[in-house]
């Protein structure tokens, strides 16, 4: 089947898994928004006002990474519990189309809180249109990285009930513990490299540098761009290699 058909199918997955599901279960929006907005609220209460933009950038990254967590759960749910993935495997739909469709659906859920977070960002610091565009690109790369990771990990499970502790551990490890809601300068310089094990660190550092929250030389931005690009490519590649479309 041609590219147009595959792209139309991605759009159809977005519509049925994302938009229709969102329309019929709007409470999901509250659930998704709860954690990032709670973090911002606590930062607002306990930290100096100058730290708040770090929290907003962190909330944007955290919310985007949530698509990976949702992807892990939904992909496993549709494969193991519903067995509906098998309908698509035994059809002209390609694995990439299915993954891209699910990833787009997850983004549909996180898009409303992301729009609100971008609006908050504009109110807490002066931001140029170029900086906003840059943040949008960071969000897109982070989304691709997180969704690939989520789908790949989901394909290793045979029992659905095994998933939630792993998903919770994995996504907290990459979206709460690294310097996402706080500046990386809080971490002692000697062990700062540990933070870069998490690919989300590149995303948040990129955001912080691009918005002028950190005053690093341009080389730091290039390093972060490279880090985020590379980790996205690695996760997409690893996902494409390890993902089990047909069982062995």
């Amino acid at each position: 089947m041609n590219l147009r058909y595959q792209l139309m199918s991605v759009g159809r997955f977005l519509y049925i898994n994302g938009l229709l599901s969102l329309k019929r279960q709007t409470m999901m929006l509250v659930s998704i928004s709860l954690a990032p907005f709670t973090f911002i609220y606590f930062l607002y209460l306990v930290s100096p006002r100058t730290e708040l933009p770090f929290g907003v950038v962190g909330a944007i990254i955290f919310t985007t990474v949530f698509t990976g967590n949702a992807m892990l759960n939904d992909a496993a749910y549709y494969r193991i519990e519903h067995r509906i993935q098998e309908l698509y495997v035994a059809s002209p739909i390609r694995s990439f189309t299915y993954v891209a469709g699910l990833a787009s659906s997850e983004l549909a859920f996180t898009l409303p809180p992301l729009v609100v977070l971008f609006a908050i960002l504009l109110t807490v610091i002066p931001v140029t249109p170029v900086q906003v565009l840059f943040m949008v690109l960071v969000v897109l790369l982070t989304w691709i990285m997180a969704a690939s990771l989520g789908f790949m990990v989901s394909s290793f499970f045979k029992e659905f009930r095994e998933i939630w502790p792993i998903a919770s551990l994995l996504f907290n490890a990459i979206s709460v513990i690294p310097p996402i809601f706080y500046p990386i300068t809080v971490i002692p310089a000697g062990i700062r490299w540990i933070a870069y094990i998490a690919p989300t660190t590149y995303a948040s550092q990129l955001g912080d540098n691009a918005l002028g929250l950190l005053h690093n030389p341009p080389s730091a931005i290039y390093t972060n761009v490279l880090g985020l690009l590379l980790s996205t490519l690695v996760f997409v590649g690893v996902a494409a290699y390890f993902t089990r479309w047909r069982e062995k």
């Binding site: 049925i16 279960q25 739909i93 062995k248």
Partner: protein, 305 residues
């Protein structure tokens, strides 16, 4: 060209602790345009075979082609001509039967207007019209299953794999599904059906195969399988009926909670008169596929998944 051509298909499930041989070199051909039933006990290997033939699972060795497309080396070509109702499939909670069917057809690249008309046709013929706009979460188990079967049948793909499609449906719903399956077969699709309902297999298929413990026990037509019983009629009696009384009338088979007596028409009628005099409950009739299946596959031990 055969719709399905399987040669020496072996499947071994390996885990850290052990390995299980699910299929032991299956050879099977199914002619195009036929409804072929694949019967077997739980764990006999039916689903494993369907999953391999429908490109969901890799075989350990051997080959299967669907309309000439090898499912291992050319899965994407095979996927253009197949559709499958997997065992235990469940719908999206938030979509209605109409949405499920319409979007599935669009996923198969069937034009919008054609998808719409097929959706309305199958909703009517599968008895789903009353529930067409009810989200699946509010449907009963049988209606959910009917929705999933309707999606796949509406595709009228050249080869349809139906793995226990009528499970959980009431008798009327099963008949509605049978009628649609028959319509689709008449339009030219090949249908590969696994089922535990032997009346379903007898009603729908001419050719069938019985698998047990990963091996084909029988392949041929329904009449040939019934002939294997070696009797035309059967009587069914309760477990408490004295065997000594029954043995003079034909072959007595212990069928779990009941006894079967297999014989010719005259002997079975004579047994019915005797049972009536003795106050025993008895049901008589021609031999069905069920008796043939019990004799063929019954008593053989279940193993593997």
């Amino acid at each position: 060209m055969d719709a399905i051509d399987a040669r020496g298909v072996v499947k071994i499930y390996r885990s850290r602790r052990n390995s299980t041989v699910a299929l032991k070199g299956i050879d099977l051909t199914v002619s195009a345009g036929q409804l072929f039933s694949f019967l077997g006990r739980n764990g006999a290997g039916k689903t494993t075979f369907v999953r391999i033939a429908s490109t969901l699972l890799m075989p350990t060795s051997g080959s299967i082609s669907v309309l000439g497309n090898d499912v291992v080396s050319r899965p994407n070509d095979a996927r253009q001509v197949i559709a499958v109702v997997p065992q235990g499939i469940r719908p999206y909670w938030h979509l209605t039967p109409r949405e499920h069917i319409f979007h599935y057809l669009r996923f198969r690249d069937i034009p919008r207007e054609e998808s719409k008309s097929r959706t309305e046709w199958i909703l009517t013929d599968m008895g789903l019209r009353e529930y067409a706009d009810t989200p699946a979460i509010q449907l009963s188990g049988g209606l959910k299953q009917r929705t999933m079967v309707a999606m796949v049948l509406a595709s009228t793909a050249p080869v349809l794999f139906l793995d226990e499609p009528t499970i959980g449906m009431d008798p009327m719903a099963r008949r509605q599904v049978w009628n649609v399956i028959e319509q689709i077969r008449l339009k030219g699709s090949t249908i590969f059906l696994t089922t535990h309902y032997l009346d379903e297999a007898e009603r729908l298929s001419v050719e069938l195969a019985v698998i047990n413990n990963g091996e084909i026990l029988y392949k041929g037509d329904v009449a040939g399988m019934k002939a294997k019983v070696g009797a035309e009629y059967r009587a069914i009696l309760g477990k408490n009926a004295p065997r000594s009384l029954l043995e003079g009338y034909g072959t007595v088979v212990d069928d779990g909670g009941r006894l079967l007596v297999l014989s010719d028409r005259k002997s079975v009628m004579s047994l019915a008169e005797t049972a009536s005099r003795e106050g025993l409950e008895i049901a008589v009739g021609p031999v069905t596929l069920e008796e043939a299946f019990i004799l063929l596959a019954g008593g053989r031990e279940e193993d593997e998944s």
